[in-house]
Amino acid sequence: MAELVLDEIVVPLRSFDLRLSLDVEGTVALVGPSGAGKSTILRVIAGLVKPRSGRVAVAGKTWFDSGRRVDLPVDERAVGFLFQDYALFPHMTVRQNIEFARQNKAERYLWQFHLDHLADARPAELSGGERQRVALARALARNPKVLLLDEPLAALDTHTKATVRRELHELLHELQIPTLFVTHDFEDAAALADRVGVLVEGSLRQFGQTSELVAQPADPFVASFTGANLLRGRVTGSSDGVARVRLPDGTVIATTGAAAGDVVVAVYPWDVTVSIVEPHDSALNVIAAPIDSITELGNRVRLAVGPLSAEITSESLRRLDLRVDQKVFASFKATGTRVLSSDV
C-alpha cells in the first residue's frame, strides 16, 4: 500500500488545469519546467491550496476528498514541508525554530543536523546550507507522516549543493517517510529519488525510475529533460532494422528504432565519443564539426560539437588537448540512439 496517495487531483491554474494521480512510496521526485504545477501539488497535499476535486490520503487517513467533503485544515495534516527559501522565522533562534511545533525538544535535532553550535543564532546569521539543515530539522521535529520538499537545493550555491545533496540523500534513505520533492534539475532528481515523475503543463508525462526515463523516454521533452541531445529530422528509409534519418543540414543519422516521417532522435552526451582523427570503428554516425564551447562540470567536461553535446572526462580532455574551434569527430552508435515521434 502506498503511503501517500493522490487520486485524480484537479487544480485549475492560470493557463491549464493540473491533473494528477500519483502513489508515493519511498522518495519520489517531480521534475519539470517552472510553472508546470510542481509546487502546487505540494501545497495541495499540505492543504495550502484547495483542489477543485480529487483525493489526498496519507498513511491510510484521508486528508482531502472532494466527493466525501473531507478537507482537513493545514495544521491537522502531519506534513514536513520544506519551503524553497526555507521560511525560517527570522525573529526566533535556531532552537526556537526547531521547537516551534512544540512536539519535540530541539536537542536531538541540533545534534543530528550538526547545529549544536548554532542553537542560539538567528536565521539571518546562517549560511544557505545551515538554513536548509534548520528547515529540515524543524520539519522533522513536528513528527511528519509525509515529507514535502520544494526545490530543496535551488537556494544553494554549486559548491554547497553537492554536500547538501549527499547529506539529504543519506537522510531520506534513513527516514522511511514517504517523500515527495519537486525540482527543475533532473540530476538532483536522479541523485535523490527512487522514482521520478516528469510534470509538464499540469500533467504527468512519464513516471518511473531514472534509468527507465533515460532508457525509454516517452517523448522528446522527457528526453531533453533527462539530458539527451535532440536531433530533429525525417526518416528517409530503413533496412536491416536500421532507419536512416536526414537532419536539416543534410547529415544522415542511422538509428535502430523503427520509425517513419518526422522524428526526433535522442542521443545522450555520454554515448558520444570525441576523437581528433576520423574514427573507423563500429559507430555508424560521425559528425565532423569544430568545438563551439568547453564547459567543465566537476571531473567531467561538456563539449558542444555542431548539434551535439558530448560528455567526456577531464582526463580525456587533457589527453586529446582539445580546444575551442578545433575540428573534431563526434561519433555515436546507432544503438545509442532513441527515436521519438516529433509531434509534441
Partner: protein, 276 residues
Amino acid sequence: MRRVGLVLLLGLATAVSLAFLLLPIVALFVHTTPGRLISQLSSDVVKDAFVVSLKTSLIAQLLIVGFGTPTAFVIATRRFPGRSLAVTLVELPLVLPPAVAGIGLLAAFGRMGLLGSELSALGISLPFTQSAVVVAVTFVASPLYVRAAIAAFEGVDPDLVAASRTLGVSPTRTFFRVVLPLARAGLAAGLALSFARGLGEFGATIMFAGSLQAVTQTLPLAIYSQFDLDFDTAVAMGAVLVLVSIVLLVSLRLLLSWQSSSSTRSSSRFGLSTSG
C-alpha cells in the same frame, strides 16, 4: 567657478530651509525663561487642557488600535471585492481638510444628522462632549496607524504563515507567534505617528466638539483660546506639545532602525524613510 557657485547656492538653500523650520521651535523656548515657562504651565487652563488631551488621545488611540489592527490585517492578507475601495476609504481622512471632517461628523452624528435620531433614541448626544473629541481624533488620526499596519502585515512573508500552519499551529496562534512579532515595529511606528497627529488635532475637534475648558478643550484648542488673552501661556503650551512631538519622533526613528536591523525586510514599506 561655476561649480563653486552651485555648491554655494545649494548650501544657502539648505541653510535657509533648515533655519526656517527651526526658528519657530526655538522661539517658543526662548520667549521666556524656563522658570517662567514652567510656572505658566500651572494655570488651570493649561492643566485642564493637558488632562483633556491626554485622556481623549489615549481613548482614541485605543479605539484606533482595537479596530484598526483587524481592519488592516484583513485588508493586507485577504483578496475581496472592493478591497482597493476599502484602502482608499481608510486613507481618505488623511487628505480631507480637518474642518470638512468636523462638518461631516456633525452631519453624521449631530442632532439633525444622519444617525442623529437613532442616537438620541438611545439617549446619546455626541456633539460638544468629550466623546466628540475622541471621535474627531479617532477619525482624523486613524489613517496614519491603519496605513502603517497594512504595510507591516503585507511585509510578513506569506510563506512564514504557511510554514507555521504546516507545523501544526492554528491560524490564531500563528497570528500571535509569527505575524504580530514580525509586524510589531511597523505597528508601533504607525501608532506613534497617529498619536502625534491626534494630539495636534484642531479643526475637526473645534467644529464637532467645540472648545469648552475642562471638557472638550484640548491643548491646541487652549493655545488658540489663550493666545490673544495670555500669549505667554499659549507659548508655554506650544513648548509642551513640541517636546511631546520630539519624544515621539525620536522613538519612532529608534523603532524603525531597530526594525530594519532585526529583520531582513526593509522599513521603507512603512511609507517612511529612515534615512536623512
